[in-house]
Symmetry: C2
Subunit: 251 residues, 2 copies
DNA sequence: CGCTTAGTTGAACGGAGTCAATCCGCGTGG
DNA sequence: CCACGCGGATTGACTCCGTTCAACTAAGCG
């Protein structure tokens, strides 16, 4: 029996019951593959499905009137994508593969049914969504208040931290399969200034680059330098409802 | 029987059953009052409860190392606050009353139980949370890519739009009980530049100010000018699970 | 009536954008 | 095997939006 990415993710926070595990695997039957650069869903297109990331990197972004792009979020294995758009019939953002990826496609209705059959998992999804919202808030703060150097350092630390939780990231180095333009679109800088800031980061000796492989030589010191707060640790689950057969609705 | 704020909000999206209405009202028993400026929850403090806004304005913010502040979100009647922090035992942000407010305090466990007893409401909460996330993404985009004039215009349009949905806002004018420093903390500008941008907005004739009362004379034209997208309309509910007694967990 | 907080305005500075040239790695085709 | 072309990375010069610093005014309040 293979380990499913979403199951693995959630099991990180909770001791899942057999039925819960079963239900999660049930969601991951329709597998699809995309090549690096492929657009999975375009902004404004109708969305009937959510996608669980099976492997690879993706990002979601919006395009402005002048053609400029804002990258909102990166997705890694075990993440659920297009939840952003679940509130509408049309996608609020473009979902694009950064590297080669596999996705599990699940119809929205099936996701909705999960709330009914496994309320505890529904509540856990809510909590995960909340933590993602905090993470987005952190980036807003970073973009709003910090200079380029700090924004990029924060992005690197954030990505590394998520890869560590999500992937089996061992050492201090990791691949960042993004162009400098992409980085700029994520943190609100031009590619020119991204380049300058990356150089400045290297100059401190805290970050090394080899092509698109990044190595942070002293994570703690860099984190201290830019006041980075890691949000990707454990999440509180003590408030979740009891597991098992849901209580009947009383009058 | 009084109309509860949360009930009214959710009924906007869904035909609620009697049992669901009952459950929502059940959440709103512990009422508390706060004066303008009061801090309800401080960043880092333990949180055991969520708060439904009964009346008034609030905002949540984070404080940076240098004392600078980033306002993440404003809350109005019917909003659920501190959901941001539900994933942790300690608050991720400071919740502060902007005007005099009343809040309904609900223990996290009771909120969790809502997912079990009324899965459809749980899923709806998830959708609302998703739409808030999109809204936050819009602000990230605005702060990341737009100049001061546009950022503030967007904030004004956004607040007006939310007040219109949430409150019985009739005309084109509304009170903005914020200092220019507050506005700056929300959109990432200094108070100096907020002032200049407000002046510039007035100069276009599209916005009038009288103290803290704002009047947008031509909403459509201002929206067109700054490429504003209103996210606070209806949300899709067709994917929600069926109402009624939850299905038993099958083997 | 002073004191404090918020709003307003001016001058100078600087971080990041803009524009533009150059370099580099890599795939493609001759 | 090498010339060519292309997308991305790098670097420099100049400009400008927003900050910083610093008055000064207006308004609320004890």
């Amino acid at each position: 029996m293979t380990v499913s990415p979403l199951e693995a993710r959630l099991a990180h926070h909770l001791d899942l019951t057999f039925a819960e595990r079963e239900a999660l695997r049930w969601l991951e039957r329709r597998e699809k593959s995309y090549a690096a650069g492929d657009v999975v869903v375009r902004e404004g297109a109708p969305v009937e499905c959510l996608y669980i990331v099976g492997s690879g990197w993706l990002h979601s972004s919006v395009t402005l009137r002048d053609g400029d792009r804002q990258i909102l979020r990166f997705y890694f294995i075990g993440d659920i994508t297009t939840t952003l758009s679940i509130a509408w019939h049309h996608s609020a953002a473009t979902l694009q593969a950064v590297s080669d990826t596999t996705l599990f496609e699940i119809p929205k209705e099936m996701f909705g049914d999960l709330f009914r059959r496994h309320p505890r998992l529904g509540a856990l999804m809510f909590a995960i969504s909340a933590s993602e919202q905090v993470s987005l808030g952190d980036r807003l703060t970073s973009v709003s208040k910090n200079d380029g150097f700090t924004r990029i350092a924060t992005l690197l630390l954030d990505v590394r931290s998520r890869l560590r939780v999500v992937d089996d990231l061992r050492g201090s180095s990791f691949e960042l399969p993004l162009t400098q333009k992409d980085i700029g679109d994520a943190v609100g800088l031009t590619k020119t200034h991204v380049n300058r800031s990356l150089k400045a980061l290297e100059a401190t000796g805290l970050v090394e680059r080899d092509g698109r492989v990044i190595r942070i030589t002293d994570i703690d010191r860099l984190a201290e330098l830019v006041d980075f707060r890691d949000r990707h640790g454990a999440i509180a689950t003590d408030w979740l409802p009891a597991v098992g057969a849901p209580a009947p609705v009383n009058a």
